[in-house]
Amino acid sequence: MASRYLIAASIALVVVSLSFAVAYGALGTAVPLENIRSLARAYVTLAYAPWNRTLTAMSPEAVTSIVWDFRGVDTFFETTVLFGAIIGTVTLFRGIKPSARIGEGLSIIARSAAAVTAPMILAVAAAIALHGHLTPGGGFQGGATAAVVALVILVTFSLGYLVSGLSKERALMLRSAGLLGIAAVALIPLILGGVVFQNQAKELSQFSYPAYIGGALTSGSLLFYNLFESLAVAAGLTLTIMLLLSPHEVVEEAVRGEEHERV
């Protein structure tokens, strides 16, 4: 019982001291450097600036234009970190073969509700990913939302139902296709005489992805990055969920089998 009071007191202490510190200017009431805001101002004003075609990202979504254009290499390595974690999970669970035996699942009510909502979630995910260069959202957000569909299907219909539609190998293939797509979009400018991660034409390198396709604003490379990132994230997270939620016996068996082979 005493530990409960201790936990409550320590949480309260952290909250009160943090809010006190923030309210009294611990984060700094004045920005230290002289012109630090000009960088942010440049990003926001140049995100969509058709009158300044050599500096703009041609995307009204400032966040996406920073994520995939102005700071594209940062995002590339963030993606690398995420997929390092996913590759680690896949390696740990490498012996597991999720069986495609379709189980009972939940009641007919739950299954019907899931059958109606799953395509709707998928549609929202596609909208988040493919409109990522126009409205808040982007590849990661859309991909994570799409992975929730796999989760809903897994819980309501059973793991076997999910695996019979999207096997482990196929999920791995989709993830690799997404990552290769990102790499290709980043490297195509280099092959065609531009620089790595180039989106729009710059003063010194004239390569440019089309900002408009058929009259619709596609913001050059941003649409493709969002498309491939959502594919990679959706497949990668689905794969992780599939492996982590595999039955206990299957995991035990796979791990034990490995050890026997080594001895």
Binding site: R4, I11, A12, T64, G137, Q141, A144, T145, L151, H248
Partner: protein, 91 residues
């Protein structure tokens, strides 16, 4: 007359208080399944705060990850280690 901005900030403050209570319950509850639900509640409160602070990009990634994928992964963990913390009742 209450300014709209104060309504929004009040909503954020309310969510912040809710998140603190949910955090306490999540940390102190010995039933890990209930702790997980409280944790998701705390995440929902955070999502509202992010929305009020005009960070919709974060909201869109926070909702599926914190309310969908994270509980699923922790649920898998709870299934392995037993539902109750501290021995009795657990497996």
């Amino acid at each position: 007359m209450i300014e709209p901005v104060n309504v929004a900030l009040g909503l954020a403050a309310l969510s912040a208080v809710l998140s603190v209570i949910a955090t306490y319950l999540a940390v102190s509850d010995r039933d890990l399944l209930r702790a997980l639900i409280f944790s998701a509640l705390q995440s929902t409160a955070y999502a509202i705060i992010f929305l009020v602070l005009m960070a919709p990009d974060i909201v869109l990634v926070y909702v599926p990850v914190a309310v969908g994928i994270y509980p699923a992964v922790v649920l898998a963990l709870i299934k392995r280690v037993g539902r109750f913390e501290g021995g009795e009742g657990g497996e």
